[in-house]
Amino acid sequence: MEKKLKFIIANCCQIEPSVVGGDAGINATPNWDSFGHLQIMVCVEQEFGVVLDTKTIAQLTSYKDILKYLKTGKKKNGK
């Protein structure tokens, strides 16, 4: 799952997967801006077969948040 997520982020941001570290996130990773973020979310939905609600899309702004959500179905504040 980690590998796949990094792969998605790398391709959406047009960077090497090796550059996507654990601290990757919006405005910290090249091309992961508000537009790039939506592109990542489209691919996450498609590749992991999930449907994210609008608030979740707005909140899952880092690699760790997305990973946690995918593993537990929870957002970072635990709700």
Partner: protein, 626 residues
């Protein structure tokens, strides 16, 4: 899904198979939408030093945020070997950008502008508060918007003459009065769409550099929840899904290809199990499936599609392994045949090798092999022709023979953006070509033959009604084309706008028919040595061999001599296909100025006395006054 993106990356990252990644991508995007595949294209192909064949500067203007279009377009254009630069306008600001010369849009200097407008953005007040609008309000609002759009696009298309604008007005899934089942004409999104489409259609006819994208075709491929996504609207003012944008990008590419690449000219068909069901030689005429009812209808429908192509100006030919007498008899006697023998410009019904037959057909009708599509149900014949004549397009038809008609209908080989008068009458003139061939044989010598044709050639300054035909000729003419400059409508317009240039269309007539506009001549006067340069001289292959090129050159010499000019320059740039006109200047007493691998520059001094050739006496050349 993952497999496709993985496979693509494998190809893209491999040194040996890198070139296969492009066609793989283009094939895959025809299937189910795969967001990761689209993303992978740019991240894995972008940094390679590819040999792009063309470059375009693309401006994107939208009534809402259409940013996702950029990557989608870049992927499709790059996959088609076209490199692209982008300008993405601020959304909702399109009218101001189009109207203001000093806008960033103008300074970017686009060659292609894509404008995507959504109805709820164009008429927000009706969508936001429909019950406060009355019929009159709606009408006056629409009239104002139509006028604004017309004015802005008119200005832009004149000012940015090198640019082509692709316009899309996207139908809306949203209705302004969704609580009312039948709200009346003024409150239906379709009414607004039709009104705005009328404006674009009017502009399309007025201006040669505005085309309309069929957005309904793209959006109707998906249910509403796949084409629009409110989440992205609230988060980023993006109305549509990436899925829809990918469809639009493909549509833009399709129009771009239609506008920029010559379409195929000739369809060569097999007979047994292609035009009808069964094999005449084995099954006998009575067992052949062809007719109004049952499965015979499928073959009739295929024939109807082929007949449509004929009427659109596509040349038809037959290449079949059969006893000729049997096949011809079938055509003449079977009452359910839609296609008749006279629809075919050439026939090769024999037991000889099909590749050799196709080569002969190409010579017969005077077209290049790369203008031919060969349609046959037999995989062995397809492979043979594909291997022997790689220039010929040999499509892989569907397994199910009953779907051949649909397959032809959805094919893209013969598409054109507009339908010109010449397209419609082309097959009439091919019949005339066949008749002149028989006249040539009966008249015995060439002089008598040319005399008997009573040919006349009319030159006319290019005008708005002939610009697109002139551009079409520049794009399509391969054989008699001395310089093969692929001008587009905007280029022609720009050239014609200079006082010292002359752009003429060439119309030809003979005792059989009016061939319409069959050629173009572009002349540039050069003040410094009182000369005139033949920039472009091309003639359609339908009238090659009729000597009108000689008559035209004589006319040019006489005209410019009378006007006090001293020289005519003309050049011949060699291509793989224009050998037919290599010696035209030599034959008309031009002398060589310089020669290189690419071509030759000739001159003709107007000071010497001109000798009339015999052709000049038989072919009348007239200049039509404005």
């Amino acid at each position: 899904m993952k497999d496709i993106a993985d496979k693509f990356i494998e190809l893209a990252d491999s040194k040996k198979k890198h070139d296969d990644a492009r066609p793989f991508f283009l094939k895959q995007i025809e299937g189910e939408y795969n967001p990761l595949l689209w993303k992978c294209y740019l991240s894995h192909m972008k940094e390679r030093n590819d040999n792009f064949e063309k470059k375009e500067r693309i401006a994107l203007l939208g009534s809402s945020n259409i940013m996702p279009m950029k990557d989608m377009l870049q992927s499709v254009f790059n996959a088609n070997k076209i490199s692209t630069d982008y300008y993405v306008g601020e959304y909702g600001n399109y009218l101001q950008e189009l109207m203001r010369d000093a806008s960033k849009l103008y300074s970017f200097g686009p060659t292609l502008t894509i404008i995507m407008l959504s109805l709820p953005d164009i008429v927000p007040s009706i969508y936001e508060d429909p019950f406060s609008c009355d019929k009159k309000d709606v009408e006056s609002l629409l009239a104002k918007i139509s006028e604004d759009l017309k004015a802005a696009l008119k200005k832009y298309s004149s000012a940015a003459a090198k640019n082509t604008t692709y316009m899309a007005i996207i139908p809306s899934y949203e209705e302004p009065c969704s609580y009312v089942y039948s709200p009346g004409h003024s409150f239906r999104s379709d009414t607004y769409l039709t009104k705005l489409r009328d404006v674009i259609e009017w502009l399309e006819n007025e201006k040669n550099n505005i085309v309309m994208i069929n957005a309904r075709k793209c959006i109707s491929k998906y249910p509403a929840n796949k084409a629009e996504d409110k989440r992205y609207w609230y988060l980023g003012r993006i109305r549509y899904t990436d899925m829809f944008f990918s469809e639009m990008a493909k549509e833009v590419m399709e129009i771009y290809k239609i506008m920029n690449t010559p379409s195929k000219k000739c369809l060569i068909l097999d007979l047994d199990n292609t035009l009808w069901g069964g094999v005449i030689g084995q099954d006998g005429i009575e067992k052949i499936a062809l007719g109004q009812d049952g499965i015979g209808r499928a073959y009739q429908d295929l024939q109807r599609e082929v007949l449509k192509l004929y009427k659109k100006g596509i040349i038809l030919a037959i290449c079949s392994k059969n006893n000729e007498a049997d096949a011809l008899e079938f055509f003449k006697t079977h009452a359910e045949m839609i296609l008749k023998l006279e629809h075919f410009a050439a026939k090769r019904i024999n037991w000889a090798d099909k590749a050799a037959n196709i080569k002969e057909i190409a010579q017969d009708i005077n077209i290049g092999l790369d203008s031919i599509v060969f349609f046959d149900d037999d995989p062995a014949e397809r492979k043979w022709v594909r291997d022997s004549l790689p220039q010929v397009t040999v499509p892989e038809p569907p397994q199910d023979q009953f779907l051949y008609g649909e397959f032809i209908k959805n094919s893209k080989w013969f598409n054109s953006y507009r339908l010109s008068e010449e397209d419609m009458s082309r097959n009439v003139t091919y019949e005339a070509v066949a008749k002149t061939k028989s006249l040539k044989t009966s008249s015995g010598n060439e002089e008598a033959f040319l005399k008997s044709l009573s040919q006349s050639v009319i030159l006319e300054g290019v005008n708005p009604s002939t610009i697109s035909r002139t551009a079409q000729l520049c794009q399509k003419t391969n054989q008699f084309n001395l310089t093969t400059k692929r001008y587009q409508a905007a280029d022609i317009k720009e050239i014609a706008a200079h006082k010292s240039n002359h752009v003429y269309t060439i119309r030809a007539k003979d005792c059989f028919c009016d061939y319409g506009v069959v050629g173009a001549l572009i002349l540039k006067e050069q003040k410094k040595d009182e000369s005139v340069l033949i920039d472009t001289f091309l003639l359609s292959c339908r009238i090659i061999g009729r000597k009108i090129e000689h008559a035209l050159l004589s006319w040019l010499k006489a005209r410019f001599k009378a006007n006090g000019y001293s020289k005519i320059y003309g050049s011949y740039s060699r291509t793989e296909k224009n050998g037919v006109c290599a010696n035209i200047y030599k034959e008309n007493n031009f002398t060589v100025v310089s020669e290189s691998d690419k071509g030759t520059l000739y001159e003709y001094s107007l000071n010497k006395k001109q000798k009339l050739s015999s052709f000049d006496r038989f072919i009348k050349v007239k200049l039509k006054k404005k």
